[in-house]
Every structure is written in structure tokens, then in C-alpha cells.
């Protein structure tokens, strides 16, 4: 599993943004993960603790304090597009069959997200 590596990347992006904005401390991070993104929410939370929340100031990279920060996870359900019906639908299982016409969709509109949405800083 690569949740640790992803959280290290999260730290990098968050520190970069916080420095750019002249902040010195990160309090809260909002992350959006799609149900097809291949990451496990619990594993992400454990990795977040190691990389961010439990990290003492000055330990590791940068001058941004992330100790005690919290992670808010928003999980995005898969949404596909049916080319025959020209409509979006939320598949009920791993097979992306349109509930109206039964056609298999090859267009995933949402569900692959791995996004840092926002940061609360001071």
C-alpha cells in the first residue's frame, strides 16, 4: 500500500501552499478521495497521523507546524456517463451498467479523485 507515500505528497503540497500564503501552521486538511482511487480511508488516516498530525515541529522538512492537524475525508461515489441515454448514473456495483438501458459505460466522470481541496492555516 502506498498511503504513506501519498500522505508524504500531501504534506509537500500543503506545506508549499501554506508557505506561499505566509502561514506557519496547518490545522486542518480537506481531502477528496474517489471510490475508485484505490486507497483505503483507514490506511490514509493512519498514514496521516504518522506524516502530519504526530509530527513534532521542526522534525523533517520545512518550517510549517502540522502537529495536531486533522484530516477531513470526503469520499466521492462513482458516477458514470451512459452514451446511449446521454445521462449520468451512479453504478450499483463494480460493473458500470446503466440502470436505464443496461449498456456498459466506459466513461467514469467521478470516482478517481485524490485531491487536496482546502487547508485551514494560521
Amino acid at each position: 500500500m502506498h498511503e504513506l507515500a501519498l500522505m508524504a505528497e500531501l504534506r509537500h503540497l500543503a506545506e508549499e501552499a501554506a508557505s506561499r500564503e505566509g502561514a506557519s501552521r496547518i490545522h486542518r486538511l480537506q481531502l477528496r478521495i474517489g471510490s475508485l482511487s484505490g486507497v483505503d480511508a483507514d490506511a490514509l488516516r493512519s498514514a496521516f497521523a504518522v506524516v502530519m498530525a504526530d509530527r513534532e515541529p521542526g522534525d523533517g522538512s520545512g518550517s510549517i507546524d502540522t502537529q495536531g492537524s486533522t484530516l477531513e475525508l470526503e469520499v466521492v461515489r462513482t458516477v458514470c456517463f451512459c452514451a446511449d441515454c446521454q445521462q449520468e448514473f451512479a453504478p450499483s456495483d463494480v460493473i458500470h451498467a446503466c440502470p436505464r438501458c443496461g449498456a456498459l459505460s466506459t466513461q467514469v466522470l467521478r470516482g478517481r479523485e485524490l485531491e487536496l481541496v482546502a487547508l485551514e492555516v494560521s
Partner: protein
């Protein structure tokens, strides 16, 4: 003073909407432009451990009609795969990934620098044997090829849908063992089609070499038109 953490300063929100994969994806786009510039068809080869990725590439290296085959192979610890591939005539380079469960675009870029690509038309990136982690990481490939072997069970595509959904083609390997293991071919094909309706399917044996020709022709059809005079990316 702030109510939640007791600090003296006001909190503020920074809106970002930034993908955690953005650095990887930028490097992947760069790789893609690079491969294209050199007239290379780049393939990302994915499967569970032991499905036969290296065995398939050994065969491809022998059969490929246009120049040497380049292989960048990710492995946790050893360089066995690279040695097997070199013995089969490929230009193979091993990336030791340590405890990383997938390859990322910057590793591929660094390995690519060290590869002699004279007369090369096909570059295959053999990913780490893993059906989950490599899926999200674009390496700059033109095509994704997933391998499933008959010994793994007909429902693999249903258990690991994201990987099979992302594949342009799926190889069903070890067909020489199909009878011995009671492989339910129709069921496997139906599962695969329900998950990856657009993927091409090739049934073959990397051991005996039977069934490889259709894959070779399909790859040849995807060879890029080289732009020898274009700017270097």
C-alpha cells in the same frame, strides 16, 4: 484567540483543488512527449505477482519485428527479471523500488535516460506485481496492458475492477495450463467484458509462445508515426 486550538492567530482557509498525483501526472505527460518524439510505443504492463509479465516480455523480445525491445522493470528487491530479459535480447533496466508498491513517472524518466534507444520502437514498462497500487499512476505510456493468468481465478476482474477498467488490452496468460486447472473460459471472458467492455483480449501462453502473433500485430498497429524533425521536448 482561536477556539479550536488555543492559538493566538486567526485561522483562514486556503482553497486548492489540487490532485495528489499532479507532480506524477506532469512528469508522465513529459515522458509521453519524450517517447513520442523518439518514435517509441510505450506500454505499461500490469498484473498480480507471477502472472507472467516477464515471461511474456521474453517472448516479445524474441518475436518483435522492429528493432530491440526496451524494458524498464520495477521489482521490489532483485534484478532477476532484468537478467532474464537481457538474456532474451531486450535492452532491460531494473528499477529497485524497495518498499514502494508501484512505479511512478519520475522513476521511469530517470531509467529512460540510461537506456540505449537506438533503433528501438517498443518500450515496455513492467510494473511492480500488484493489482491495486499501480492503477492510479500514469507513467506516460500510450497503452496499458493488464495480464491475468488462468491459475488466478475467473473473478479477478471483479475483485480488482479499477485496474482492468484502465487497461486498453488484457492478456489471459498460461493458456497451456487452462485444462489442468479447470479454467472456466467463458465465465472469465464474461467477467472481463463486464468490467472492461472496450479492452482487447488476447489469450496466449508465454511459456509455449502460442497465441502471441495477434498481440504482436496489435502492438505494431499502435506504433507512433515518428516525428524525427520535431522539437525535443
Amino acid at each position: 484567540m482561536c477556539g479550536t486550538c488555543g492559538c493566538e492567530r486567526p485561522h483562514r482557509l486556503i482553497a486548492l483543488q489540487q490532485s495528489l498525483l499532479s507532480r506524477n501526472n506532469a512528469q508522465a505527460e513529459h515522458n509521453r512527449a519524450h517517447f513520442q518524439h523518439h518514435g517509441l510505443l510505450a506500454l505499461n504492463l500490469l498484473s498480480a505477482p507471477g502472472s507472467g509479465k516477464t515471461a511474456l516480455l521474453e517472448q516479445l523480445a524474441r518475436l518483435w519485428p522492429q528493432g530491440p525491445v526496451g524494458v524498464i522493470v520495477g521489482d521490489l528487491a532483485t534484478d532477476n527479471d532484468a537478467r532474464r530479459l537481457q538474456a532474451a535480447g531486450a535492452q532491460a533496466l531494473q528499477i529497485r523500488t524497495g518498499d514502494l508498491c508501484h512505479l511512478e513517472a519520475p522513476q521511469v524518466a530517470a531509467a529512460f535516460e540510461q537506456l540505449d534507444i537506438t533503433d528501438m520502437t517498443l518500450l515496455v514498462i513492467e510494473n511492480v506485481g500488484n493489482l491495486v497500487c499501480p492503477t492510479a499512476f500514469d507513467l506516460g505510456e500510450q497503452l496499458r496492458l493488464a495480464v491475468l493468468s488462468v491459475t488466478e481465478g475467473e473473478d479477478k476482474p471483479l475483485k480488482y475492477p479499477a485496474l482492468f477498467q484502465s487497461a486498453d488490452a488484457v492478456v489471459i496468460n498460461k493458456s497451456d495450463l487452462a485444462d489442468a486447472v479447470g479454467f472456466q473460459r467463458q465465465e472469465a471472458l464474461a467477467n472481463l467484458r463486464s468490467i472492461a467492455p472496450r479492452a482487447r483480449v488476447f489469450e496466449l501462453s508465454a511459456r509455449t509462445g502460442s497465441g502471441l502473433e495477434p498481440l504482436v500485430s496489435w502492438l505494431c498497429q499502435h506504433l507512433p508515426v515518428a516525428e524525427p524533425h520535431g522539437p525535443h521536448p
